[in-house]
Amino acid sequence: MIGYRSRNRRKAPKKDSEELELSSKTRPSVISGNMEEQLARIRTESGDSPDIVIRRLKLGGKDNCAIVYLNGLSDPQMVNHFVMESLLHVNPDLLNKEDPEAMLKRIMEDGLAMGESRAMTEWNDIMLAILSGDTAILIEGSEKAIVAGTQGGEWRSVTEPTSQLVVRGPKDSFVESIATNISLIRRRMKSPDLWLETMKIGSVTHTHVAIMYVKGKADPEIVKEIKERIHGIKIEGILESAYIEEFIQDKTVTPFPTIYNTERPDDAAGKLLEGRIIVLVDGTPFVLVLPTVFVHFFQSPEDYAQRFDIAIVMRIVRYLCFIILILGPSVYIALTTFHYEMVPTLLLISLVAQREGVPFPAFVEAMLMEIVFEILREAGVRMPRAIGQTVSVVGALILGQAVVEAGLITPAMVIVVALTGIASFAIPAYNLSIAGRLIRFGFMVLSGMFGFYGLTLGLIVLVAHMNSLRSFGEPYLAPISPFRYKSQKDAVLRMPFKTLQSATLTASASGSGKQGNRSSTQQGIGAGSGTAEQNNGSERGDGGSNQHAVAPSAEGNRNSG
């Protein structure tokens, strides 16, 4: 077990499992021929939920058939037109003469105008299918049930992305439906090499998780490793891809995101072409990309829609912004309190004049302003949109101006804080910008205590830490460290497509050359820290194949009912 969020939650599933075991003893795992008994069981297990619709039908004049579906999750059009109508149009004379098993076979073969329908015997599978929106057809006397694929229901339609905007480029984004998301990628890559594997994670939610990769480009070792780690996840529910991210990442003690996420299909498809693997989770528009390197967080799909020279400049600006974000206030503190000799003379005089009568030392000043800025941002993010405007006006204009006029903070500090704030928004990846904001405070303390000396030491530690990070065996700072000349063309720079074709920043470029090394690096990380538990998890998953992993979760479902 990798661990739950709180101790309270850790106890709950144990209780459940005890109950589950009890109930599983009393109740058979396969369905019986008694239809009424089955229907009653569905009712009791679902707590007689009104959205589970049970509709009895008379085939051949007898009261011998029932269809069960979940209202809202199944497509009513399909249930009405293809299931009910087809059933009612089966020749009743033929049905009359046959025993239930033959009848079921006939319905499967002749009666259902459905693309997806299968006969099932396992109670759990049937129940899960109903809960996923499929329609179950039960027939009196038959020990099988037909499950017709009628999944549907309402989803948010494909809209413009909200977090990764571009001026030029595709305007669609992933939605909460995994099927739609897969189709968005499939539509971009019409290749049989694009492989898809799905699994269900979460003992209660049974969330669909899919991994996609391009066969022949993606490193099979990494694919295997990802599957193992995902199967190792033990949790009640997966509600966002971040849950998966947290479970499968290599190292947990770091502010840096080691798994990239995107809500743009074109971005995901681009990463697939690089030989990376994407993980889609049902119910969230954010798709994980593995393995991830640091430079990914500075790449925007926009880069490929603009001229390469302009794209290079834009990327460099983003790196500059990251440096400003983490070092801006700390450099200012170090300069004004330790190294006044480094400030140009006239600027220094202006700064001295501003500092006249300001009560706080520069470090306290910077801390105050940065905290105020964080409060404003947090307030702005959570605000209802109608009030959001007020926050920015009150915060940025009134507070900023008043604080300067009251002589509490120097205007230069307000400029520095505002600059770092704006710089943090220029980084395309939100999770990296949060990491940068966090690191910034550490650097502020260091420079407040030791000036540039502390800042330099901090930077050394930071770079060493970033070098120690791995994302599924890929060094986090690749291709800068270790330096790979061929991968430079689409790392910090974005060279023209002509040159890109020969050498992209491929995940397998690192893997294929030294696949032998990969497993050893993995072990190395595991032995290091943090991931020891995870490795255990994946070892456990190691033994079981895909089906094995699904089976226990299916048991859980049955028992919970």
Binding site: T337, Y340, E341, I349, S350, A353, R355, P361, M449
Partner: protein, 404 residues
């Protein structure tokens, strides 16, 4: 285990902050930024009198100005510079911060007593930059007075003076930038010494230090860059004249722009030239080791700026005549500088370096007798001037007047 380790690191980190404190952190409003330093000699106490020109920041920028002077001078005396500096702490509420010092003025009498000890401090100090400009206050003037001058343009006098040196060396080329390291290098020249720009106060010394100096259109007193001061070793030997200064700059190959005034033969009038750029090369001929010959080659490029004559500038022959006249004039200026340095027996022109570079073996023999040889050294001049342009006109409209 892991948790405990992190906790330990956290505690140690906090201890680090508590125990060491904030190293040498000084907030900006606890600093007095010094823009210029004046060094005088107090005969009565036989101590240095150091004057710090400090910047009153909120008078220069910021809203909180009280209409006071932009700079204020604090003085203290001491046997050494550091002692004097520490003594100011009784007078100044803030830390005297020297890192932005742009100018160091040495009074004439300190310079005559020797500046070697002074420059050890300037060289050693971690705050003062080696790029600080050095000036010597003219005879009878005190460094404290120069530092106290207020100038209308350029609120901080020290920086304004540094800018004046920079400007005049580009426009007039009778001075050139002399910084701390240049002086030290000059003092290390065998038989020679540094040349340092002079500064004098024109007008009233008392008035120059008052705020009223900023309020009248004609300033009561103004700090002005003057001619070069010649040192031998670390001691001031004498002052150059305007022409000698120019010749020195020329031989040291620092010539950028300078006006030349040529009087033509046979009463043909006068022509004013501007040197646009110039290249100087010094060679040494060492046939006879005891009688080295120094050859100075100068190639100035000129532009004709004023023609008070009726000569025909379209005639190539005229150009030849003009160039030859310029050559003579330049040689005359160069000679003056060389004669002055010979008279003061200070190899400020760097001839010793030329000899050493040409033949190190010969230099080793000469070295000990250089002081004797230098005043009698033979110097040859070869000036090859070229008139490059005559600005917007070739011959003057005055030429046509004369024809009629």
């Amino acid at each position: 285990m892991l948790k405990h380790r992190w906790f330990a690191f956290l505690v140690l980190g906090c201890c680090l902050a508590m125990m060491t404190g904030c190293w040498d952190a000084v907030e900006l409003n606890r600093r007095a930024i010094v823009s210029g330093i004046g060094i005088d000699w107090m005969e009565s106490k036989s101590q240095y009198l150091i004057s710090f020109q400090t910047v009153v920041a909120d008078e220069i920028s910021g809203k909180a100005g009280r209409g006071a002077t932009p700079t204020s001078v604090y003085q203290a005396s001491g046997k050494t510079v550091i002692e004097a500096m520490r003594n100011t702490s009784r007078k100044v509420p803030r830390i005297i911060s020297l890192a932005h010092t742009g100018l160091i003025v040495i009074s004439d009498d300190v310079a005559r007593n020797g500046i070697v000890d002074l420059f050890d401090y300037l060289d050693r100090d971690s705050d003062i930059r080696l790029t600080a400009e050095i000036l010597v206050a003219g005879k009878g003037q005190r460094a404290e007075e120069v530092v106290a001058v207020l100038t209308p343009i350029g609120k901080i006098t020290a920086f304004a003076l540094a800018q004046k040196i920079d400007l005049t060396s580009r426009q007039l080329s009778e001075n050139f930038r002399v910084e701390v390291d240049d002086v030290i290098r000059g003092m290390l020249t065998p038989g020679g010494g540094p040349i340092i720009n002079g500064v004098i106060i024109e007008g009233s010394k008392e008035g120059a230090a008052k705020k009223s100096n900023l309020e009248s259109a004609k300033s009561d007193g103004l700090a002005v860059i003057s001619n070069l001061a010649v040192f031998k070793g670390g001691k001031l030997k004498g002052w150059m004249t305007k022409e000698e200064s120019r010749g020195t700059v020329w031989i040291r190959d620092k010539m950028q722009k300078t006006p030349l005034h040529i009087k033509l033969e046979n009463g043909q009038g006068e022509v004013a030239f501007d040197v646009m750029r110039s290249k100087t090369r010094i060679e040494a001929e060492l046939q006879d080791p005891l009688q080295p010959i120094i050859r100075i080659f100068v190639e100035p490029n000129l532009s004709i700026r004023e023609v008070n004559s009726s000569i025909d500038l379209r005639d190539p022959h005229t150009m030849k005549i003009l160039e030859e006249a310029v050559n003579k004039e330049v040689v005359r200026i160069l000679k003056k500088a060389v004669e002055k340095s010979k008279r003061l027996d200070s190899d400020i022109l760097g001839f010793s370096h030329v000899i050493e570079r040409t033949k190190p073996a010969v230099w080793r023999e000469l070295k000990d007798r250089w002081d004797v040889i230098y005043p009698r050294i033979q110097v040859e001049y070869q000036v090859n001037s070229v008139v490059r342009n005559s600005q917007m006109r070739d011959r003057s409209f005055k030429h046509d007047i004369h024809i009629e």
